[in-house]
């Protein structure tokens, strides 16, 4: 079972990957946006880490809720409300559970992704967060349905997310600041799809390392 502690590890790893790749994300954003995605996300997750504590009796939903609120209130760009909505909706899907089954994990990721799509009014192929997140979640669900355990399923999810992320390179942006560039946005990897990939990668690494 995926415990409160595991959730904590997931968030910690996410914050760590974002921090390590802060400049990379910003560089990606510089090519097609306003060169702030890395620093924005890093600031957001730093705030998250500041608020997070190690209280054992808290439920996972409340923690994800807190993550969402922290991101909303501290990330200046579009990523704040988008990722904030992702975590808030994810929290709603699992309520006050203290342990998650593989199905719960898939459900929380799916609910978060749906919330994010609604908030951003995004379609797959618009060159956004969704382009890595959604294939990742779909792969996770499929892999679980095929009878794989969560560790294998998360491996599949991350692989699909990574492919989705690479596939944003030739796309023309339809949303966000990048869309102002039109055709010129093609040829660059989308920073949002990249940060979403780290979120899934962090989740996988909870299982791989633990």
């Amino acid at each position: 079972m995926f415990t409160y502690k595991d959730t904590l590890t997931w968030i910690r790893l996410t914050a760590q990957y974002i921090e390590e790749n802060k400049d990379y994300l910003t560089d990606l954003d510089r090519a097609i946006g306003d060169a702030d995605h890395g620093s924005n996300m890093d600031r957001g997750f730093k705030k998250v880490m500041k608020r997070i504590t190690t209280c054992e009796d808290e439920d996972i939903g409340s923690m994800l809720n807190m993550v969402g609120m922290a991101l909303i209130s501290s990330v200046g760009g579009a990523a704040g409300p988008l990722y904030g909505t992702f975590y808030l909706q994810a929290a709603k899907a699992i309520n006050s559970k203290k342990e998650l089954s593989p199905e719960d994990i898939a459900a929380l990721l799916e609910a978060g992704t749906e919330g994010l799509i609604k908030r951003g009014k995004t379609n797959p192929g618009d060159k956004t967060i969704i382009d890595s997140l959604q294939p990742g979640v779909e792969a996770l669900k499929k892999s679980l349905r095929d009878g794989n355990d969560i560790t294998a399923a998360m491996q599949d999810a991350v692989q699909s997310a990574e492919e989705g992320m690479r596939h944003t390179i030739p796309l023309v942006a339809k949303k966000g600041r990048a869309s102002y560039l039109g055709e010129r946005s093609a040829g660059h990897q989308d920073p949002g799809a990249t940060s979403a990939f780290y979120i899934l990668k962090a989740l996988r690494d909870v299982f791989v390392s633990g």
Binding site: D34, D36, S39, N40, R43, R51, T53, C55, D57, E58, S62, M66, M69, A70, I72, S73, G76, G77, A78, A79, G80, P81, L82, G84, T85, R119, G120, G176, R177
Partner: protein
């Protein structure tokens, strides 16, 4: 007033746009800016909580329009709006207009008093002026302008208006009613005055075009009957609006159908039953004194205008006063009518028209005002819509109020010396609001129907009423006795003895039934042997209070104000809190409202309060402890509570009291707030009662000292139990220890009650135990005065109380206090049940 919010990535840009808009409107329009972020690496960005606060700072039900620059500004705004409650959310509009043009246009519109739809419409078309200046208009007009207004193909026509007075009230009304016959969207603009398009189906908008003789107008229509609508309007204008007497749709036609037609006898009148009930009594005919308005040449239009505007202000003040006073006498009657009256008094169409007449015709203000009103009424009448025509009463009402102020002739109010049945031509809302139920038995009106304000009013205070009697009402003799049957819509004049007896029976039966219903719901809570206690409710919001009242609660023993602080991004303002506390207290009327001050802690996270997660939140920084450290937050709440306490039955309760000095400190802050309010001339109840929640063992032990500081105790048994037994109720391993029936807890309860009673004060309980049916006899036996519980258990609890004997409860209480374990308590309780 409508508010405008500017959301931008850049603080400079946001502030700059505001500055531009302010300059245009002379700072009259509320404009808030949420722009930029405050981080070390960049100042460009948008912040959801900042946007939330900006919207909240200028929010009113008139509406808020948010203009955003790019990308994340929109996302952040949408996210921020999700934190508003649904009824506020629907008044917040996100406008896609270009930021600078949109904000400026909207600000100018708001300053001019436009409604939200008009402001949005204008803002969305804000690029037009620039386009026309650049000479782009001709090529893009159909695309940019017409497309944005009309969905389908549009037909247009340009026409001169040739009738003598132009599109003034009556022709405008005809124009609007003609436009309304078609389903197409129709817009009109006055080319001669270079106005914007307005909705041809709105009388008030048409009037704003100021179309005069010789002006050219453009009509644009789109929809399936666009062609026909253009033709019809063209015909109307070319015929100079048939400037003969307009055909009024008979006011009484529709009502005739609604009318009940029972056996009509010479001494029986019939009308529309608008408020049920039967009344028998003498007649009081009220003939409102309509002052004779002389028209004369006024040498100084300026003086007349000043007099007029002064009278308008005075009437606004009068209405404000009636509105405030009526909240009690009118009970649940929706006072929104007065809002409508204030709107009329602010209506530029009326004020400007009066100014026009004063200056053009050089006549006195009274006469000018009356003719402006008359024009407006004519336009309303020809609209043919019943609801709109009902508003004629409102216009007449404010009209006579203004005239009374101008002439100094005071209006009489319908108030008979002895209780009587009021017979009127038509009752103004302002008169209806001042009716005293002990003086008026029933209401009979020549005009009016179920939707009249006085009808709503009559229903809300339970006054039988028959309206729409027509001219027959003149047959009612001043010296007769009347039976008013509000159920059937019949009035019987000078009934014979048999009829009278029959109706007396009916009336008495009705009154009796009504009283029985009331007493069942609100029957006193007392035991078999006649001892009574107070049964009140634990609530968290207004809906709970309504449920509590329906269930017969005697008041509110615990209002959990912390819910006001949850699920949002910033602190609730003083005004917001005040409104809710006031509404709560008003709903409760004479019944008590106990407001518990903010009770939060590490276990109830509120993101913006920055309370850190604590290893032991139940032993941590919470309740009163938090408030004493965050004095700003505490004072805001106390101000709101005190303001709501003015002439209302409100008391304060402090949560998580551990020591006597804590209560003294809280009281000192309360006194400080009282001083500030006094200095500001704000009224409140100086003798407001203060209570302490008893939920910490130290407070029980210090009870005899603590009670000297407060007016009452209220036991919070949920926390008290876990503190007494040192067992966390959320920890499954020890939760079994958390039993309020533990003799140690029962002794704590006994001591608390004893301390209060020794000081001649009251002890209540608002923990779950208070509503626990099993605990009832024990707590009753221990002498608890007040039981506060969730609303839905009240009726069952009361039922149980009625089967309980105080004597036996006391015996049981004495026995359980001797017990040494929960098990023993429960076995004693089982014995008690067997008896």
């Amino acid at each position: 007033m409508i508010g405008i919010v500017i959301v931008s990535h850049s603080k400079n840009l946001g502030e700059g746009v505001r500055e531009l808009a302010m300059q245009m409107t002379h700072e009259k329009v509320p404009i808030a800016v949420a722009a930029g972020i405050d981080t070390p690496d960049t100042s460009l960005g948008t912040d959801t909580s900042q946007i939330f606060q900006a919207i909240e700072s200028i929010y009113s039900d008139d509406g808020v329009i948010v203009f955003m620059d790019l990308g994340s500004a929109i996302l952040s705004t949408e996210t921020a709006i999700d934190f508003f409650p649904p009824h506020q959310k629907e008044n917040i509009y996100l406008c896609e207009a270009p930021l600078v043009e949109g904000v400026l246009t909207a600000a100018v519109q708001v300053a001019g008093g436009s409604n939200i739809d008009d402001v949005l419409y204008e803002a969305r078309n804000a690029l037009r002026a620039k386009a026309s200046q650049l000479g782009i208009e001709d090529t893009t007009k159909k695309d940019s302008e017409t497309k944005s207004i009309f969905k389908e193909s549009t037909q247009e026509i340009v026409l001169p208006v040739r009738n003598r007075l132009g599109l003034h009230a009556r022709p405008a009304a005809k124009f609007v009613s003609t436009a309304n016959k078609f389903s197409s969207e129709i817009f009109v603009k006055n080319l001669s005055k270079n106005t914007d398009f307005v909705n041809a189906k709105s009388i008030n908008q048409i009037i704003t075009l100021g179309i005069r003789h010789g002006n050219k107008i453009m009509i644009a229509s789109s929809g399936i009957d666009a062609g026909d609508s253009i033709l019809a309007l063209k015909k109307l204008i070319e015929s100079n609006f048939d400037e003969e007497e307009p055909e009024f749709i008979s006011l009484t036609l529709k009502e005739e159908e609604e009318r009940m037609t029972p056996e009509r006898r010479a001494d029986t009148l019939s009308g529309i039953p608008v408020s049920p009930g039967i009344a028998i009594g003498p007649v009081y005919i009220y003939r409102p004194h309509i002052p004779d308005i002389p028209e004369y040449v006024a040498p100084s239009p300026d003086t007349e205008m000043t007099r007029f505007l002064h009278a308008i202000d005075e009437v606004k003040n009068d209405i404000e006063r009636i509105r405030q006073n009526s909240s009690t006498s009118m009970d649940r009657y929706d006072a929104s009518i007065f809002e409508a009256h204030l709107l009329y008094l602010n209506d530029p169409a009326l004020i400007e028209r009066t100014r026009d007449i004063i200056f053009k015709e050089a006549i006195n203000a009274e006469a000018a005002w009356q003719s402006a009103i008359r024009e407006m009424i004519i336009s309303y009448k020809s609209l043919g819509d019943q609801l709109v025509r009902d508003r004629e009463v409102d216009l007449l009402d404010i009209s006579s109020q203004v005239i009374s102020r101008l002439t100094g002739i005071r209006r009489r109010h319908p108030e008979p010396e002895n209780a009587a049945i009021l017979v009127v031509g038509e009752l103004n809302p302002s008169e209806a609001a001042q009716l005293k139920k002990d003086k008026i038995l029933a209401l009979c009106s020549e005009k009016g129907n179920k939707t009249s304000h006085s009808a709503i009013m009559a229903r809300s205070i339970g006054l039988p009423a028959v309206f729409g009697i027509g001219e027959d009402i003149d047959k009612i003799d001043e010296n007769s006795t009347l039976i008013v049957d509000g159920n059937q819509g019949i009035i019987i004049m000078d009934p014979d003895a048999v009829t009278l007896a029959r109706y007396r029976d009916l009336r008495d039966k009705e009154i009796q039934e009504k009283q029985e219903t009331i007493s069942r719901a609100f029957q006193k809570a007392s035991t078999i042997d006649g001892a009574s206690v107070s049964v009140v409710a634990n609530v968290a919001n207004i809906t709970d209070i309504k449920t509590a009242l329906e269930n017969g609660a005697n008041g509110v023993g615990l209002f959990r104000t912390e819910y006001l602080y949850m699920n949002r991004l910033s602190l609730p303002s003083e005004e917001e809190q005040y409104k809710i506390y006031k509404e709560a207290a008003d709903l409760l009327g004479d019944r008590l409202l106990t407001l518990r001050t903010l009770d939060i802690g590490g276990d109830k996270p509120i993101p913006y309060l920055n309370i850190k997660k604590e290893p032991n939140p139940f032993l941590g920084w919470r309740g009163l402890r938090y408030c004493l450290d965050e004095i700003g937050i505490f004072k805001t709440q106390l101000r709101a509570i005190l303001r709501a306490s003015h002439e209302r039955n409100v008391q304060i309760m402090f949560p998580m009291v551990a020591t006597v000095p804590e209560v003294r400190a809280a009281k000192a802050i309360l006194v400080e707030v009282m001083k500030e309010l006094s200095q500001a001339g704000i009224s409140f109840n100086r003798d407001i009662k203060i209570g302490a929640m008893i939920e910490i063992p130290s407070a029980v032990v210090m009870g005899p000292h603590l009670i000297k500081e407060v007016d009452f105790f209220s036991l919070g048994t949920n926390d008290l139990t876990q503190y007494v037994l040192a067992a966390d109720r959320s920890n499954t391993n020890v939760v079994a220890l958390c039993d309020p029936f533990d003799p140690a807890v029962l002794m704590m309860i006994r001591d608390t009650i004893a301390a209060a009673h020794a000081a001649g004060k009251m002890a209540g309980m608002c923990g779950e135990m208070a509503g626990d049916l099993r605990a009832l006899p024990i707590l009753l036996g221990l002498g608890l005065d007040e039981f506060s519980m969730i609303p839905t258990v009240i009726s069952e609890w009361k039922e149980k109380l009625r089967q309980t004997s105080l004597r036996k409860a006391k015996e049981l209480a004495e026995q359980v206090l001797q017990c040494i374990s929960v098990e023993e308590v429960k076995s004693k309780y089982a014995d008690y049940l067997k008896e």
